[in-house]
């Protein structure tokens, strides 16, 4: 069996529809993911994350290239792949006409779990996902957040070696989300490989051992958080809180050509790419002759890196 959880080689997916130009949703991606890590796929809307995941989970056939999961080709051996994966797709996917408990038991049945084991795991997950009060209710009577819980809980009924999560935390409250993140780390310690996409960059920052940033179907950057931060050296977040927001501050900020900026009440936030020695000069210039209540200067966050990389048209940093 392959030492890699994923091996993607020159993968292309083109969507063609009559009367419209073909769309290259995934455009020649090649990468490998070792086993036993949390691998994050990041990218703006329409970057090709979900299409990539759909090819890896055998839902969509690639136009060109190959994708192997634990050494099994997703096109030639789809059943072998499906036996080794479980996935939370982006859309809410639940059995609306079944109860919460029957959702879990039916999923277990598809995954070939025996009855006793399925019942034990279902009980444990119902407790862990705080679904006890809803256990016998039909899922169609539950709110969107609860439906998502049921959907995510299902994949923990089994212990497939690879787990795909497409924006798993959508609709989850912060406490459950935190709990889920701990659960995911524990799953990785047991040897599972987790491939996740997320729009919540702090989530990726907290969870992922390895991150691939993609945009317009292409790879933009790859590495762990520290490696990615190196790609974005010279990017700083500056926060200044004034007692009274100066009238000309917006214009002054604009002259600095920030990567992004925002003004909220008496506080300005800006992300800027500059030399280290210039940062304090900028802070001094913006606060001169003004009463400043708070100053913060930070190195780039994953969000900064993400924004910088995905807005650099045509520059291939990877």
């Amino acid at each position: 069996m392959s030492e890699f959880a994923l091996e993607v080689e020159s993968l292309v997916k083109v969507y063609a529809s009559r009367g419209k130009a073909p769309v290259r949703a995934v455009d020649g991606m090649s990468f490998r993911v070792p086993r036993g890590i949390i691998f994050g796929l990041l990218g703006p809307n329409g970057a090709g994350k979900s299409t990539l995941l759909r090819m890896l989970t055998t839902l969509t056939r690639p136009t060109e290239g190959t994708a192997k999961i634990l050494g099994y080709d997703a096109v030639k051996k789809p059943l072998e792949v499906r036996k080794r994966i479980s996935s939370v797709i982006q859309e809410t996917a639940v059995e609306l006409f079944l109860s919460v408990k029957d959702n879990l038991l039916t999923y277990a049945r598809f995954q070939g779990l025996d009855k006793a084991m399925a019942a034990r795991r279902a009980s444990a997950l119902i407790e862990e996902f705080q679904l006890g009060a809803e256990v016998d209710r039909k899922v169609q009577d539950l709110s969107g957040g609860f439906r998502r819980r049921v959907q995510v809980a299902k994949v923990f009924m089994v212990e497939t070696p690879v787990l795909f999560l497409d924006e798993f935390s959508t609709g989850m409250d912060p406490i459950l989300k935190r709990q889920m993140m701990n659960r995911l780390r524990a799953e990785v310690e047991k040897g599972r490989t987790i491939i996740l996409t997320t729009q919540v960059l702090s989530e990726a920052e907290d969870l992922c051992d390895d991150i691939l940033i993609i945009n317009k179907g292409k790879q933009i950057a790859r590495g762990d958080l520290n490696t990615l931060k190196l790609l974005s050296q010279g990017v700083y977040d500056i926060t200044l809180a004034f007692d009274c927001l100066p009238e000309t501050i917006a214009a002054e900020v604009a002259t600095l050509v920030p990567i992004r900026s925002s003004i909220d009440a008496n506080t300005i936030d800006l992300t800027i790419k500059t030399e280290e020695g210039r940062v304090m000069e900028i802070v001094s210039a913006l606060s001169r002759d003004r009463r400043v209540l708070r100053v913060e200067v930070r190195g780039a966050s994953l969000e900064d890196i993400f924004v910088e990389l995905t807005t650099q048209e045509g520059k291939d940093i990877a």
Binding site: A93, L98, S99, D102, R109
Partner: protein
């Protein structure tokens, strides 16, 4: 095997825990027999040229075919429900092949169709005094099974090819009208205009009804109906192969 049983288990769970599904699958065709059939039987009597067969007896095969047609149509509509719920795409990542998924669904539908047939025959015998040829019951049930499977695969093609629920509903409404009325379901074909009769003879539901009529009340020419039966099996197989292809193209 476990994949097939899982699909059957899922279908059974959904049906067994939702009364409306049970009503449409099992009881609605009975209402046709007890209201429409009895009404026509009382008002118009026996169809011409069929000896001592009354309308209730003549209509029995029509009811059975209608049930298999309706069960197939209702189940194929569930593709839309599953697609809207997202579960359809998730299920396609489960450890089973596309053909196992379709076969599992059809096995459950065949079971429901056979159950419905048993119920219809019992009600027909007990309440309407229909004289059923019991020794041919296995052939009748086989006809129900193949009929339901064939129509399910046929409808599945449209359900999988069509992206919009309203379009699918329009298609099925037209199918209901054309397939049921341009057939031997409600009336014998012999007194009808030649063009109508020819159209009805090309309609696979006529082949199914003729088989069910022969095996339930013994009316019809065995040789020509055997030929129709072979034609229906070929129709069902072709629909199955194409439906699997459509399922494989789902993205």
């Amino acid at each position: 095997m476990s994949a097939l049983s899982a699909v059957v288990y899922r279908e059974a769970k959904i049906r067994a825990t939702n009364f409306t599904f049970i009503f449409w699958d099992l009881f609605f065709p009975l209402l046709y027999m007890l209201v429409f059939g009895v009404g026509v039987n009382s008002a118009l009597g026996a169809p011409a040229g069929l000896g001592n067969v009354n309308y209730n007896e003549f209509f029995l095969a029509g009811i059975l075919a209608m049930a298999s047609f309706a069960i197939a149509s209702n189940t194929s509509w569930s593709f839309f429900l599953d697609r809207d719920n997202g579960i359809f795409y998730e299920m396609l990542t489960y450890p089973m092949s596309r053909s196992e998924y379709l076969l599992g669904k059809v096995i459950f539908n065949v079971f429901i169709a056979v159950l419905q047939a048993a119920l219809t025959l019992a009600v027909g015998r007990l309440l309407l005094g229909i004289r059923v040829h019991w020794p041919r019951l296995p052939l009748l049930l086989a006809g129900m099974a193949v009929g339901t499977a064939g129509w399910f695969f046929f409808y599945a093609i449209f359900a999988l090819k069509t992206k919009r629920n309203d379009v699918f509903n329009s298609v099925t409404s037209v199918f209901y009208f054309v397939f049921m009325f341009a057939s031997s379901m409600f009336y014998p074909l012999e007194p009808l205009p030649v063009w109508f009769r020819r159209a009805a003879l090309l309609n696979p539901i006529t082949w199914e009804i003729d088989w069910l009529r022969l095996t339930s009340i013994g009316i019809g020419n065995f040789r020509s109906i055997l030929l129709e039966g072979v034609g229906f099996v070929a129709f069902a197989l072709a629909c199955f192969i194409y439906a699997v292809r459509c399922l494989q193209q789902q993205e």
